[in-house]
């Protein structure tokens, strides 16, 4: 491009370009952080603002009469979700090594744990709706609760769907070492869904339950 | 390389930019000087008649002055740059066709135009912050007249709680109490959506938000009628949600209060009109104290004739207008929340004859 002899020019600088797949996913997660951040902020803002029951205490606190203390049941579910984050790491490692069978195994474990979590949420909602009569329109607590937990569940569902597809591909023998990068991106997304849950859990079942006495 | 633009461009540009400078100044002079013959009914913030509005105007002058100086200086620099550094001109003097010297920046200069604006902003901030705390009163000043203002779609309710009556469309306040300037403390609430109470000559605006109580403080300096209107979009008739404030001499105000406190005037001559009113759906929405009509959805009509306007100000309160209103309010105020009551002409006349006795 330039007429100058090469030795006169400074050497070309390194651009410092980043890997685009990773950055893309990080940005997606960043935007999700702001999405969930908004829902969470609204949830916190509205703690204790509902008029009329059932309150968080009413539905989460079924001390002796009810079958379970809801937060306990939810904690139980949560363990599955948290653990699945571990499995997905192992799955990724396996794929990096090219151990596709091991990958398939851990992948299935991840998928299964995620599914258990989702089933737990479904069960919880069933109880809330059928036994406690709590739905979106019942009161402000219901609106906030179903929106926040629902959007999280939606993200879990999206993750599980993609996992199912990947699993089918694995069974078909289409997953190879070179896909490890993509799997890593997927695992980031999954960790994020997990992290959101930790916050949601704290807000809804700990702070919200206390704060709304 | 392409042709260099013609010279007249810069002259015209200069003229226009200069006009951009001068026009605001002229307009400002025209608008801001209350002695100039503008409409007497103009609710201009430059013509304040109440303490908070005056305080706001003082701050306004300062910020206008600061911004005007910045504006003129910057605009001047732009114009100067265009004239002085037009390509043709520069080449004439420099006598070559090459590129001008490239200047990549200058730390001291750039520091200067970071720090100087910071200082300006700091001054502006201090002055305005003081103003905020002085003007925004959350507690009624001692001895203030308190009125609860409720915004409805699309009319204002004025509830004089302690004095025991409520009225609509016109807010009446006294200039003095026992010869001393009287503060008025408005408590603002909404019955439906967000409105905003704004009478520029008396004070700044304050939003009227459902589920929330806001306060506004006025302290009139002069008697007279001051207009304003709802300033937050609230639906079809937002434009028709006008405000009238009447500032009275102390005695007149007391007389007005005494009259408002009475129940509705009862004139046997128009009793049939009253009975018709009371047997119509009117009473579901309107209150007339001293009768069974006690609706709260719509303006209190007990002393309708003491108001000079109808429909919160969209029309003057004359017999013809009143008839037209009761016949079909949608004509004067399309979209408003009072339906045409489908009365016959005769019934309308009878009801209005009675309404006209409600002094």
């Amino acid at each position: 491009m330039s007429a100058l002899p090469a030795h006169d020019m400074p050497p070309l600088a390194r651009t410092g370009n980043l890997p685009r797949g990773k950055l893309g996913v990080l940005l997606l997660i960043l935007s999700e952080v702001f999405f969930f951040g908004t829902l969470i902020a609204v949830y916190v803002f509205y703690i204790g603002h509902h008029t009329g029951g059932p309150t968080p205490k009413d539905v989460f606190d079924a001390p002796l009469s009810g079958p379970t203390w809801q937060p306990l049941a939810v904690s139980f579910n949560s363990v599955f979700l948290l653990v699945s984050s571990l499995w997905i790491v192992l799955a990724h490692r396996a794929l990096c090594r090219g151990a596709t069978t091991a990958f398939g195994f851990w992948w299935l474990a991840t998928f299964a744990c995620g599914s258990v979590f989702l089933a737990g949420t479904a069960n919880e909602w069933h109880g809330l709706i059928m036994d406690d009569g709590l739905w979106m329109g019942t009161n402000l607590f219901g609106s906030c609760y179903y929106t926040l937990v629902g959007f999280h569940a939606l993200h879990v569902t999206a993750g599980l769907t993609i996992m199912a597809i990947v699993f089918v591909l694995t069974l078909a023998g289409k997953m190879h070492q070179r896909h490890a990068g993509k799997i890593e991106l997927l695992s980031w997304y999954w960790h994020f869904v997990d992290a959101v849950w930790i916050v949601v859990f704290t807000i809804v079942y700990v702070i919200g339950w206390w704060g709304a006495a | 390389m392409r042709q260099i633009a013609a010279r007249e461009g810069s002259v015209a540009l200069f003229a226009t930019l200069a006009a951009t400078c001068v026009a605001p100044a002229l307009t400002a002079a025209l608008v801001c000087d209350p002695s100039l013959p503008l409409h007497s009914g103009t609710p201009s913030m430059f013509d304040p008649r109440s303490a908070p509005a005056e305080m706001i105007l003082d701050i306004t002058w300062l910020v206008i002055a600061i911004c005007a100086v910045i504006f003129v200086v910057m605009e001047g620099l732009i114009i100067w740059a265009i004239i002085r550094y037009r390509a043709k001109h520069a080449r004439d003097t420099a006598g070559d066709t090459g590129e001008p010297p490239q200047v990549y920046g200058s730390n001291p200069i750039e520091l200067a135009w970071t720090v100087i604006p910071l200082l300006i902003v700091f001054v502006l901030f201090l002055v305005s912050a003081r103003g905020i705390f002085e003007i925004d009163k959350q507690e009624p000043p001692p001895g203030a007249l308190e009125v609860r203002v409720v915004g409805h779609r699309w009319w204002w309710e004025f509830d004089y709680g302690d004095l025991g009556f409520s009225t609509a469309a016109e807010l009446h306040i006294p200039l003095t109490k026992d010869g001393q300037p009287q503060s008025v403390f408005l408590t603002l609430e909404s019955a439906d959506v967000i409105h905003s109470f704004w009478v520029p000559q008396l004070g700044g605006k304050k939003d009227v938000v459902p589920g929330r109580t806001n306060y506004l403080w006025l302290q009139p300096r002069e008697t007279g009628r001051f207009v304003g209107q709802c300033a937050e979009y609230c639906g079809a008739q937002h434009a028709g949600m006008l405000i009238n404030v009447v500032v009275h001499e102390e005695d007149d105000f007391n007389a007005w209060v005494a009259n408002q406190q009475k129940p509705a005037h009862d004139d046997p001559a128009t009793a049939d009109g009253r009975d018709l009113f009371l047997s119509t759906a009117c009473i579901n929405c309107h209150t007339v104290r001293g009768t069974v009509a006690n609706g709260t959805f719509a303006p209190d009509l007990t002393h309708l004739m003491s108001r000079s306007v109808l429909g919160s100000g969209v029309i003057a309160n004359t017999p013809e207008h009143l008839r037209a209103w009761v016949w079909d309010p949608q004509d004067a105020k399309p979209g408003c929340d009072m339906p045409a009551m489908k009365l016959t002409r005769e019934d309308t006349d009878r009801i209005c004859a009675w309404l006209e006795t409600l002094h």
Partner: protein, 552 residues
């Protein structure tokens, strides 16, 4: 990414249409964004013209009150979301890959997806004119204002489906914007050509980077708020239902938390355009590049923390108002730095007043005015008088029209030769500029006056005795000039596409990489991968004796 597949089996017009519809080429998508945006500009301008006609004199009956309310809602929504956004995304799309010397965006398919989401979002919004009647037979287009304050948007007060169209239309196009925002950031951070370190990027690219990050973080909160509103309306939730403990102020916080960054999202591209144009037509390097970068980043940060200045009259505590007054005023400082640096670039230059430069100067002069009225509005006591009055309408048209739209025209006149291979006519361009300059100031200058004289915004008519007639009449007359100017523009584009002077690669003797390839650029952009050593690679090439890299 390869250029669009050609379908020889289709008839020529269909085949060309097919090429455009299935394209993933950043340049075509850029053009599609911009053209769609300009079409919406005509529609939004038409709506504005109807409003000005109605307001020309008190008591007119040109449109019904409800229709007026729809007009300003659709006008504001269109101009912000369907004009400003697509044009900025489109120009970034077209220019960023060229300026950083790469072949395409990081994710070309995502790029096409983003465009089509935007397109369908806009179409959905406008479909409300026909489809929003709903079961109640009420309403047509949304009539809740562009910021859709609750509880006016709740079912109780807004029946029918118009508000749902507002929500869904904007949400769909919003997801498109987020996708494109992610794409832009990734492209800029991952695809720069050899030698282009961050501080060697043209300022345009820097500004677009900050802009795209703002899009990525500011749009999701709006989507979340809209989801809540949607749930309120369709599932009976109570987020903004005051009767059930919901809060009207919450919506305002959520909306403006998005809304203020949004106005900066709109103005930053304007800064980007003039930061390229002013140096080229002053024949000088941009003054103070590093500080410009710093100012851009600072603006990005501060703009996330000023949103309460739209709520000064809502009755928040004096302390909160004071705090946000401070942050709002502070944002004038980095913006001022930019103004000063642009003017300093002109100083000592050899200014050529071609149309792009004229529009850029118009931008400088008018954005200055709008910015200063913005600082006035930041003064809380003053805002208590003029908030929600025509003064505010004046303010934001000076920044949005006088700033953004003027700079868009500057950009169109500047880059049209690159995109089409032909020059726009200078003569017609000057006609457009002067008519628009006069019309614009005539329309929006008087609004400041009527606002300070007590005229609230969003009123479909006003009383005769208020003394606002003359100012409104002037405003309305101004629109005629503007419409004429726009007509000149359309004529210019059509004429030049057919028989404009061929542009050549580098008609303005400019310095950034896009001018080193052909006009229009080939699908692959550059025949050889560019290498840069400075911010002005073409300057280096043209002045090997005195290249930039010696000084940067």
């Amino acid at each position: 990414m390869s250029s669009s597949p050609v379908r020889p089996d289709l008839s020529p017009p269909l085949s060309r249409l097919h090429e455009w519809v299935v394209t993933v080429d950043h340049k075509r998508l850029g053009v599609m964004y911009i053209v769609t945006g300009l079409v919406f500009f005509l529609i939004g301008g038409f709506e504005a013209a109807m409003m000005r006609w109605q307001l020309a004199w008190p008591g007119l009956d040109i449109v019904m009150p409800e229709d007026f309310n729809r007009l300003f809602t659709m006008h504001g929504t269109t101009m912000v979301f369907l004009v400003g956004m697509p044009i900025l995304l489109g120009s970034a799309n077209y220019l960023v890959p060229l300026m950083i010397g790469t072949r395409d965006m990081a994710f070309p398919r995502l790029n096409a997806f983003g465009f089509w989401l935007f397109f369908f979002g806009g179409a959905l919004l406008y479909f409300s004119y026909f489809g929003a009647q709903g079961l109640y037979g009420m309403g047509s287009a949304p009539d809740v204002g562009w910021f859709a304050y609750a509880p006016l948007t709740e079912r109780t007060f807004s029946r029918g489906h118009s508000t749902d169209y507002w929500i869904l239309g904007l949400m769909v196009s919003g997801f498109g914007s987020i996708a494109t925002g992610i794409n832009l950031v990734t492209t800029i951070l991952c695809m720069r050509c050899t030698g282009m370190r961050l501080m060697k990027m043209p300022l345009f690219v820097w500004i677009m980077l900050v802009d795209a990050i703002l899009i990525v973080v500011a749009m999701p909160p709006l989507a979340a708020a809209q989801v809540m509103l949607l749930f309120d309306r369709s599932l009976g939730a109570h987020f903004f239902d005051v009767q059930a403990g919901g809060s009207a102020v919450l919506w305002q916080n959520l909306f403006w938390f998005f809304g203020h960054p949004e106005v900066y999202i709109l103005i930053l591209p304007a800064f980007a355009f003039v930061s390229e144009i002013i140096p080229v037509f002053s024949r000088k390097v941009l003054f103070g590049y590093p500080l410009m970068v710093a100012a851009t980043v600072t603006i990005g940060f501060i703009s996330m923390g000023v949103w309460v200045h739209h709520m000064f009259a809502i009755g928040l505590s004096p302390a909160v108002n004071t705090l946000f007054m401070a942050s709002t005023m502070l944002i004038g400082v980095p913006t001022g730095i930019k103004m000063f640096n642009w003017v300093a670039t002109m100083f000592g230059g050899r200014i050529r007043l071609h149309t792009p430069m004229l529009f850029s100067i118009g931008f400088l002069a008018q954005f200055l005015f709008g910015g200063l009225t913005g600082v006035m509005l930041a003064v809380v006591p003053f805002d208590w008088q003029v908030s929600d009055s025509y003064f505010v309408v004046g303010h934001f048209h000076y920044v949005l029209f006088g700033g953004l739209i003027f700079s868009i025209f500057a950009a169109i006149y500047y880059w049209f030769p690159k995109v089409s291979g032909r020059m726009l006519s200078e003569a017609l361009g000057k006609w457009q500029f002067w008519l628009l300059l006069i019309g614009f100031n005539l329309t929006f200058g008087p609004m400041h006056v009527s606002g300070m004289l007590g005229m609230p915004r969003r009123i479909y008519t006003y009383q005769l005795d208020r003394g606002w007639e003359i100012w409104n009449l002037l405003s309305s007359i101004g629109v005629l000039f503007q419409a004429l100017a726009i007509a000149f523009f359309i004529w210019n584009v059509i004429r030049s596409l057919q028989r404009g002077t061929p542009a050549g690669d580098d008609p303005w003797d400019a310095w950034t990489l896009e001018w080193s390839t052909t006009s229009p650029p080939p699908a692959w952009n550059f025949d050889t991968d560019p290498e840069v050593r400075s911010r002005r690679p073409l300057w280096d090439a043209k002045h090997p004796d005195d290249p930039d890299w010696k000084y940067e």
